[in-house]
């Protein structure tokens, strides 16, 4: 094989030598050292090709174990090589000539047919796969009446979501702070209540209920308990919506971490279910909103139970009297008008995860 490579190398040099301009002719060392990997060495030797030719009907692929036929005159007189040697070794980044090989027409036809059949099969499989993965809504728009949802499709797409959630979780660090801004960078924050803004009547009798505590008791706190007992922290951070818009806003409130310290959850708890019972749906009917929050994120120093927005107590639009502000998560995790927090060992249900969004939502 080695001799063969040299032999081939020489052939290519012949072509190159005549075809290209000899700007800086340099004689490389002759011999095996010459066959450096960057040189245009034919990667399929004629021996292997002959073997293919002989065995084409049987196996159809090159078999290195086949004994090459005896060759008598493959050693070429070195004198024939020298006049056509070109500048051989170029810089690492310089383009090298394409490797040229000689292939028997039969082999070439066979390979072409094989590759085109593979290509066609791949194209058909891809089309089928794409049709399979398209959302039902899109298929309906295209005129597909049948329900094309399948457990496999859900599994695959959810798998992609879970992988992405795992990546988000791996990226999270309690010590990594989100960027904070100055007051001049504040941007308007729209009232994004999904559906209708609740009637402010709930505020007067509002309480925050804590469940799943180590003490085994349910705790009920009013807003005065919360604002007087805990120290209030301010931050100007960005709230990013899953839809793609974002707003920089000035918040103040107590740290979730401080609440966790004051009222520790059971030792097995890894999750908080943060709920707002006053949420309404688009037609104004009660639509309790709850979402899951891992306690690692709840303990982040920038995760607040916010009581103030732009220096004023929260308005109904922004979730009076207490909302979750968790800037390392998408806006949909920032529950407005929290009424209950329940700690649990198992991951609780999540309003948007049930509607096809991810569960972790770390950003």
């Amino acid at each position: 094989m080695r001799r063969n490579a040299i032999h081939y190398n020489r052939k290519i040099l012949l072509r190159w030598g005549n075809g290209s301009k000899l700007e800086n002719p340099k004689l490389p060392e002759a011999g095996p050292a010459d066959t450096n990997p960057a040189a245009p060495i034919a990667t399929e030797s004629p021996q292997a090709l002959e073997a293919i030719e002989q065995q084409l009907d049987a196996s159809g692929s090159p078999s290195p174990s086949v004994e090459p036929p005896p060759r008598t005159d493959e050693v070429l007189p070195p004198i024939a090589v020298e006049p056509v040697l070109v500048k051989k070794h170029q810089s690492l980044f310089e383009e090298q000539p394409l490797p040229v090989i000689e292939v028997a027409p039969r082999v070439l036809r066979y390979r072409t047919r094989r590759d085109f059949l593979l290509f066609g099969a791949g194209a058909v499989a891809t089309l089928a796969g794409a049709g399979f993965l398209l959302p039902q809504e899109t298929l309906s728009r295209l005129g597909m009446r049948r329900d094309m949802s399948s457990p496999t499709k859900e599994w695959l797409l959810n798998k992609a979501l879970r992988i992405d959630d795992d990546v988000s979780e791996a990226l999270y660090s309690r010590n990594r702070m989100v960027p904070t801004y100055t007051k001049s960078q504040i941007t308007p924050l729209k009232n994004n209540y999904n559906g209708a803004t609740p009637d402010p009547g709930y505020i007067s009798g509002w309480n925050l209920t804590l469940d799943g505590l180590a003490s085994g008791l349910g705790i009920s706190l009013d807003i005065r308990n919360l604002t007087t007992r805990f120290s209030i922290h301010e931050q100007i951070t960005r709230l990013v919506c899953v839809e793609g818009w974002s707003a920089i806003a000035w918040w103040a409130g107590l740290r979730f971490d401080d609440l966790l310290r004051a009222y520790p959850p059971t030792s097995q708890a890894g999750w908080a279910r943060v709920e707002s019972s006053v949420n309404l749906d688009a037609s104004g009917d009660p639509d309790p909103y709850s979402m899951s929050l891992d306690l690692a994120t709840a303990r982040h120093p920038q995760t607040l139970l916010a009581t103030h927005f732009n220096g004023q107590p929260l308005t109904v639009d922004h979730g009076a009297p207490l909302r979750l502000l968790v800037p390392v998560k998408l806006g949909l995790k920032n529950v407005k008008a929290i009424t209950r927090i329940t700690y649990s060992a198992e991951e609780p249900k999540d309003y948007w995860a049930e509607r096809g969004y991810s569960r972790y939502d770390g950003i």
């Binding site: 190159w16 075809g19 980044f93 394409l98 398209l134 992988i163 509607r355």
Partner: protein
């Protein structure tokens, strides 16, 4: 199957010892490069279609609400214009929604679009790794590196392509500029840029996907909102690349298209040049 044989010359047949006449082929594309090239077609299509569906939920380009229609979105403006000017669409039920309803996977399916976008995005990154591996293993990466002469040569090629239709019309001789490299300068610039665009799409994608954990990356593109603009226009770069790419491949001929499927080309220019000389 269109495997034209190169005329064999004395010199070549003297140095080859095969009994049967062979075909000289140049190896152009490594197997992994070919795979990733074709896989990028469905993946990019999935990314673009789901990406536009995501875009509809919060368009970047907005203006002050129109006093008459209340419309604030540029895409809706285009829809209104299309419905007003394209025959057969005058009675479309909701002109502002025309673009939304006809481009992308459809409006109002953010959750489905996001799931598909993440799936395609991870496949796109894997595919990028496969492509790079193919470039390294097939030593094809050198052919893609920009050269100092590329700007001038690319302009020459551009001039040639622009002139082809006119030259054909007036039966004027319009020779293809000669080049001795695997790709001409315009091709090289395009292929190199599109690889960079792929990398930037991934980088801007991560910047807007994880603007808090990767806030330094978002800052690199001018912040979260600007990274969205980058991501949006990089999508257009792919679209602008694909159109001439496909046209020119068909114009260039069967050998070029087949080359991306089988990996080799029967255009072995230099040996033919020798054949002519001898």
């Amino acid at each position: 199957m269109g495997c034209s044989t190169t005329p064999r010359t004395e010199a070549i047949s003297a140095s080859t010892l095969l009994e049967q006449p062979g075909v000289l082929v140049a190896k152009r594309h490594h197997l992994l490069v070919r795979w990733s090239h074709w896989l990028s077609v469905p993946i990019l299509l999935g990314l673009i279609l789901s990406g536009i569906s995501i875009y509809w939920s919060s368009p970047i380009y907005q203006h002050k609400p129109d006093p008459l229609t209340g419309n604030f979105d540029v895409a809706a403006d285009i829809g209104i214009w299309i419905c007003a000017h394209v025959p057969g669409l005058h009675h479309y039920s909701s002109p502002p929604d025309w673009i939304y309803n006809h481009i992308s996977l459809g409006p109002g399916i953010l959750a489905s679009a996001l799931r598909l976008h993440w799936l395609c995005a991870y496949l796109f990154m894997l595919n990028g790794v496969v492509y790079l591996a193919g470039l390294v293993m097939g030593a094809g990466w050198r052919s893609l590196l920009p050269r100092r002469t590329d700007l001038f040569d690319a302009l020459t090629m551009f001039r040639y392509y622009v002139g082809v239709p006119f030259a054909k019309l007036i039966h004027h001789k319009w020779p293809h500029p000669r080049f001795e490299t695997k790709y001409n300068a315009l091709q090289r610039t395009a292929y190199f840029s599109i690889a960079v665009a792929g990398f930037l799409s991934v980088a801007t994608g991560w910047a807007i996907h994880k603007p808090m954990q990767l806030h330094w990356l978002a800052a690199l593109f001018g912040g979260f909102d600007k990274a969205r603009v980058w991501h949006f226009w990089l999508m257009w770069l792919f679209i602008f690349f694909v159109v001439p790419h496909v046209i020119l491949v068909f114009d260039d001929g069967w050998d070029t298209l087949r080359g991306m499927i089988v990996g080799w080309s029967t255009r072995v220019k230099r040996s033919q040049a020798i054949a002519n000389e001898q």
